[in-house]
Amino acid sequence: MKNPAIIGQSIPRLDAPSKVTGKAIYTDDMKLPGMLYGKLLRSPLAHARIKRIDVSKAKALPGVKDVIVGADTPGVKYGNWRLVPQSQDELPLAVDKVRFVGDEVAAVCALDPETAEKALGLIEVEYEELPAILSVEEATAEGAGLIHQESKGNVSLVRKIDYGDLDQMFAKADYVREDTFRVHPVQHAYMEPCSSLAQTEEGNRVTLWTSTQTPYIVQCLLASTLGLPENNVRVMKVQIGGGFGGKMELRPWEFCAAFMSLRTGRPVKFTLTRHDELAYGRRRHPMTIYSKVGFKKDGMLLAKDFQVMLDGGAYNAMGPTATFLCGTFGNMLYNYPAYRYFGRHVYTNKPPASAMRGFGAPQAAFAAETQMNMAAEELGIDPIDIRLMNAMQTGDVIPDVATISSCGFKESLEEVRRISGWDQKRKNKTPGKGLGIGCFSFISGGVFNWFNTKYNFSAAEVKVFEDGTAQLAVMACDIGQGPDTVLRQILAAELGIPIHKIRLISMDTACTPKADLGTWGSRVTLMNGNAIIEAAGKIKAMLRPVMFSELDLNQIHDLAFEDERVFVRANPKKGMDFAECVYKALRGREGEPLTARGYYTPRNKGLVSPAFSFGAQVAEVAVDQDTGQIQVEKMYTAHDCGVAINKMSVEGQLEGAIQMGLGYALMEDLVMDDQGRTLNTTFLDYKMPAAEDMPPGESVEIETYEPEGPFGAKEAGEGLAIPTAPAISHAVFEAVGYRCMETPITPEKVLRALGKIK
């Protein structure tokens, strides 16, 4: 299928000029007249009962305008899984009990940040300390105390998948192995610390500018926690300095800004510090993963039993979705005649884990891909060959999940083999050096309606004007990944007008069509893109009668919209300017502008996602056998993201994903003490890769055409964060024989494995 020329072009992002000149406005850049500064008091204990809070001294401090505790609030619990109300386990400020070091207990707002900070120190809280439960093993042990009374055994959610005859398949297997993997917590470490600014008007209407990935979710949950109609809350556009899954829920400071703004009648702003983010912020789930897998001796997969405990921390956050997706990605990539998944989301007294780039899949893939490499080794089959033998392809059905509508996985494997020089380099091994492989698949947005929205998953409104320009309104938000540009590329392609003639209104819950579930799960391009195409189709239908009557066209004629013209496809000379066509179409409409809306909700697309991306990555590493230092020398990637709408953006996603995957594998780790405190709370101690740590890369895009995606596009970028850690881990094994079963891969672990230290 031939796409319009603008599809696939590396159009520089339209928001870049404002970002390189410092004009782009992020929430903390905003200051409104009369604005107050908010600060949060957090629990110093991992698990305790609140016996008494006295805020009188704080309230009496000159300059303090409001102090609130849990008892002052409506006390409405919230959580993203509205479909399952009992999963909504969070309160904006703790009532009765705190469940992690950092749990929000009280909030202050004052004339300046220093006074607010000082007031925090004047709040007296008396706690009765309870035993802190800091691991999934302790939490699920018999007789363990309960973190939430409602969740027996501290398990908040169970997900089971079961198909095929597992016992029979294992009985048929020539080779069965069982392994247990442990993966560690890391953080999104978006560069912009969270910030929220609320302003009230007309008594009880709230406008919120906030660093979020999910304006619609924040609008709905903020309204319910404030006890206001949804329509009284407006979340508005600001620039977002990265998210990666860490900004996709209602957060206490959003509530406190709005609630205290309602109480004081003044704007209130909260901005977190980096310490807040690292010490108390959301993180990727640590997991304990047991996996049993069976093969025929020729390498054909027969069965897998995948049992996972997710360390969810003190609240559900997006843990339920991670629990689902971990199961889905435990058996992706390859065809398993039988598969069983048993996933448990477990509460512990730690900062809540939540969504983070890959959403349960990076952990599942670390285990699954590592185990695949172990099996290949023992069966004496090349790791790429064993994958090719079992690889999913277009048309494959995953029971209860999906039918794969496009799949370039085999091609990805072949290409990554070629560009990495896999066969040659494995034949001529250099001591201390190795190549390793990791693969991935990921969703293009979710199907499961856990938020229980009554609206469409994505919506777009298109207006066209007689000067040949258009306006696109979408609730979707650009958190750095680029939809403010890509969505306009899609509309430009549909209407055949230049991208700079499209004005965009995005991320405003009051004046963009309902709804958009937000920026997560790689859903925006596919879902919003489809909504835009539907809206543009309606606009074109409004223009069609003009063309047919003005040019007296035959019923069999088809129209094209290209180069700012509308014309007969078979006879391009027959046509008129787009602007003229709009002008003519406007006549006789009694002044009604040309406006159309389009929507997208995945229907009959299984339970998980309307489309899946695929890919393979090879890491080339050198390991210093005296120091244990691991140098990643090069990364090779071949991936199938359908049709890339903006090639430069896709490359940027890939390169950014490698940075995050490299950090996950080798450097980043949130270290906690036995009191549940996170110890590395600065970027000096939380090490993430800098420019000098980045290996060169080579990549190939396997272009498939995804029938469910706009112009054939599907997920690009989030999934790419998945294969890097297993690829590096495999390469380290090939280099020095150390197989990492417990991430991260540190020099210390390498040296211990080599017997150089005890």
Partner: protein, 163 residues
């Protein structure tokens, strides 16, 4: 502690300010002068988002007291473009090479690059990477930033314009 009166020359404009002596330059730029292009990503000198030039040298403005900048020249991201409808070659290269995603590290990256190219007009790739060692980015993986700086260096030397 009493406020101090200081004079700052920011992007060529002279400002007389009374500031608490403990306030950082980043804070005064953002809150008093409303030059919010200078970002604060950590306030601990680790991330480089707050990078500005002080007498032409790149510094972390979150670790610099405003009083230290008394009567000195500060260049922030707002002061780099030669005119309102023109970008500095480094800025232009960041736009064209896809070096910008969320944009929060961008002002600091651009100014770190400016410092680098002022001192080393033709840096190798390794020198560019070393020149960015004080600046963290979480979106781009740095490679497009490195490419952009290399391209800007070439453009500046080819045209002889602005370094």
């Amino acid at each position: 502690m009493a406020k101090r009166t200081i004079e700052l020359i920011v992007n060529g404009d002279r400002y007389e300010l009374a500031v608490d002596p403990w306030r950082t330059l980043a804070n005064v730029l953002r809150e008093d002068l409303r030059l919010t292009g200078t970002k604060v990503g950590c306030a601990q000198g680790d991330c480089g988002a707050c990078t500005v030039l002080l007498d032409g040298r790149s510094i972390s403005s979150c670790l610099t007291l405003a009083v230290e900048a008394h009567q000195r020249e500060v260049t922030t991201i707002e002061g780099l473009a030669p005119s309102p409808d023109e970008l500095h070659p480094i800025q232009e290269a960041f736009v064209q090479h896809g070096a910008v995603q969320c944009g929060y590290c961008t002002p600091g990256m651009v100014l770190a690059a400016k410092h680098l190219l002022d001192n080393n007009p033709a840096p190798s790739e390794a020198e560019i990477r070393a020149g960015l060692s004080g600046n963290l980015c979480r979106c781009t993986g740095y490679n497009k930033i490195v490419d952009a700086i290399g391209a800007a260096a070439k453009k500046i030397s080819d045209t002889g314009k602005e370094a």
